[in-house]
């Protein structure tokens, strides 16, 4: 085969066009990143901390902060807790948040406030606290990007570098198009999605994003279908490796959260929320129970209060709206249980 035949080969031609496109796009990306090469190997936090609760913390001066995802919003009535404990309370329940975001909130907002709260209670499910890469990619990255910045080395290392596979880490460092694909996807979506909305009802990209958030708001979703979606998404919390507490703890955000709270004189309380996956302790898989026992032992040894889900608390499957969120009935019962345990904890302090 002579050289002209080789360049005429369809695959060679494809490769030539592909590499040319890759190089051109890479140059565009590198120009945007001030010609830094090789790249840092993790997603870039472009705008620094854009949203923080520091002002809220300084203005409200709460004594008690409740931190969690949407299950906190549905599971705890903050007014009842505040009235029963007599403490000024601030509830931060961010839909789709997990340990990476909670760590950022404690580090960048709570620990930075002029007035430090007396107690921070984190509401979590099963292995969420020791899975640093849970809810940090895709749409969740946009949230992390709002609260984090490039100086958060712990965040980058634990959420993005350690859990990545070898080929992924290689491409993130040496292939700019791959490393910046979220940004390019954003460009494409920003162009594509308002193509019809802009001329028809004058809705631009930002307006479309708000419209989607309102239409697909959690309360408009079908609980039965949503439950399956949650179960399928959360199945990654129950893989064999995630249930090995001692292996997961060191590389998780939990030691950092404990250290930050200790350093700032904040009493940390970890509250495990139940799901309607299991109806009794005997239902819990052996590996999960072993994980939870190790979690309790470890955090208690570090001086952290731990409240496990009590299956005898009177909350049944009918008190859940879907697989993880409680309904009004569940919320009423759980709030009472939480208040009772919290008061007991504060009294023994």
């Amino acid at each position: 085969m002579d050289s002209s035949n080789r360049t005429d080969h369809p695959f060679t031609r494809f490769l030539l066009f592909f590499i040319t496109g890759l190089v051109l796009l890479s140059l565009l990306v590198l120009a945007k990143r001030d010609w830094e090469y090789p790249l840092s190997g993790h997603p870039t936090f472009e705008r620094g901390v854009r949203r923080n609760y520091l002002n809220d913390m300084n203005n409200l001066r709460p004594e008690l902060v409740l931190l969690g995802d949407s299950t906190l919003n549905w599971g705890v009535d903050d007014k009842v807790v505040s009235a029963a404990t007599g403490m000024k309370l601030h509830k931060i329940g961010i839909q789709g948040s997990a340990s990476a975001l909670w760590y950022l909130l404690i580090k960048n907002s709570i620990a930075q406030a002029d007035f430090k709260p007396e107690v921070v209670a984190i509401f979590f499910r099963d292995t969420m606290l020791t899975d640093p890469a849970y809810r940090v990619y895709g749409e969740y990255f946009l949230k992390i990007d709002e609260y984090g910045n490039d100086a958060d080395e712990t965040l980058i290392s634990k959420a993005y570098n350690i859990p990545r596979s070898l080929p992924d880490r290689f491409l993130m460092r040496f292939l700019p198009v791959y490393a910046e694909r979220s940004t390019i996807q954003g460009w494409i979506n920003g162009w594509l999605q308002p193509l019809l909305t802009q001329p028809v009802n004058g809705c631009d990209y930002v307006c479309v994003e708000y419209a989607k958030a309102r239409v697909f708001n959690f309360v408009r979703l079908n609980p039965a279908v949503y439950s399956w979606d949650v179960i399928s998404t959360e199945s990654q919390l129950y893989t064999a490796d995630k249930l090995l507490f001692d292996q997961q703890f060191k590389d998780s955000f939990l030691p950092d959260i404990i250290r930050l709270c200790k350093r700032n004189g904040i009493k940390l309380v970890l509250v495990r929320l139940g799901t309607n996956r299991f109806s009794s302790r005997a239902d819990e898989p052996f590996l999960l129970r072993r994980y939870l026992v190790r979690l309790e032992e470890t955090v208690k040894a570090a001086g952290v209060a731990y409240m496990d889900w009590d299956y005898e608390n009177g909350i049944s499957a009918s008190d859940f709206r879907d697989s993880v969120h409680m309904n009004a009935g569940g919320r009423e019962i759980f709030t009472k249980v939480f208040v009772k345990d919290l008061i007991a904890l504060l009294e023994t302090k």
């Binding site: 005429d8 369809p10 695959f11 031609r13 494809f14 490769l15 030539l16 066009f17 592909f18 040319t20 496109g21 890759l22 796009l25 990619y137 895709g138 596979s165 080929p167 992924d168 491409l171 292939l175 198009v177 791959y178 694909r181 390019i184 996807q185 494409i188 594509l192 999605q193 308002p194 193509l195 019809l196 909305t197 028809v200 009802n201 809705c203 307006c207 479309v208 708000y210 419209a211 989607k212 309102r214 239409v215 697909f216 408009r220 979703l221 079908n222 039965a224 279908v225 949503y226 979606d229 299991f278 109806s279 239902d283």
Partner: protein, 465 residues
Amino acid sequence: MQITNLNFYLFFLIVLCLYWIVPRRRWQNLVLLVSGLLFYLWISPVGVLILTLTTFIEFQLAKRMMSAPKDKRHFWAALCLNILVLFLFKYFNFFTPAVETALASLGLRVDSGVIQLALPIGLSFYTLRRISYLVDIHKRTLTPSANFPEYLLYISFFPQLVSGPIDRASALLPQLQQDRMWKFEHFDSAWPLIVSGLFKKIVIADNLTILVDKVFMLLEPTGSQLVIATVAFSIQVLADFSAYTDLSRGLAHLLGIQTSRNFNNPFLAISPGDFWNRWHITLSEWLRDYIFFPLRRAWLRKSRGRNTLAAIVLPPLAAMLVSGVWHGAGWNYILWGAFHGLMLAVYQLIPSKKGLKGFWHKLPGWLIFTPLIQFSWMLFRSPSIAWLGNILMHSPLIGSADDLSVTLVLLTLVIFYGLVYLVKFLLDTYFQNRPIIQSVSYSIAALLIVIFLSEAARDFIYGQF
């Protein structure tokens, strides 16, 4: 491990090198068998046990079918084994509430958590392959394999394990029994299929699924959202499933093995018969050969050769009901199958001109059939029939300004990704001999694959059936 993620391709590269380095067919088959079982072990540890054990039993029964041809017990035992295992894993959970209620009425409380069974990935696909193997041996059109590892390799051939195509033993086994030498043509035919498969899955299907899933998760989408999300779903499911077929065929080509084409522009179908000749072709051929034809022949024998209404209606209805049940345990699948069966029967009853050619002759048929096929996708994708009925009867068509914006975004995506399909069709039809245009289109597709590669690969829709 998904066949769209980087780890899989590292795994496949190692397998490929080993496969072509080892000298003989027997060793090549061993590499394929071991890597197939390792791949399956990775995605479904319990599945490997079930596959190996049931395949071994079936292999022994098939051998006995050959040695004692008049004794039909081995055939029925093997057939029942396959159907039983499929029903146990696929439909047990569907009947669990009824079983629990029945047990409760007897005073026995059984917790559903105790008796939930997870479907081993690929079971539905390899069960159909095994049934066709048994029936072909029973009909004397196939000689059973004398070599268990070879037969196990046919069943566990890893490019096809998760979602087909459902290649018959008569097509695949002879290839596994032949010597294979590396030729550059293997690569020539493989790479466009792999690029095309990755593009369809990562760029089209995974992007459409985000909004489609959300609309079907809503308590009350508007009528327009439902209709456009259904069209989007039809594009998504075609992209998703044909992506798996393309990848599976591409990987098989790299191993020097030819497998079946499963799709042929199903959006262009003008009748149900035409649709099933273009959509999931290996499944429709299976249904035709093992359900439709035997039933039709039996009915014609019964009616002494007269083409009665029952002989026209019942075979397609039965075949499509089996197709619906095969897709999953849910009333929507059963209704979807029944709807297709009825469409096939009705179209058979309507006299039509055969062999229509030309765009303008086909257009009326396409305009009538396309809404029908879209309605069938609505049945297929809806979370429940009650939900669908409620939306069709009571939901407003447009809704609020926000609803309108979401509908328009969905419409934009449908038009955009629909155009991508149109461009692909035009390129394949009119620019097949324009290599520059082909190369440019594949390189753009590859660039978009890199851009849309996701950290968390989404499952293939047909992987769950």
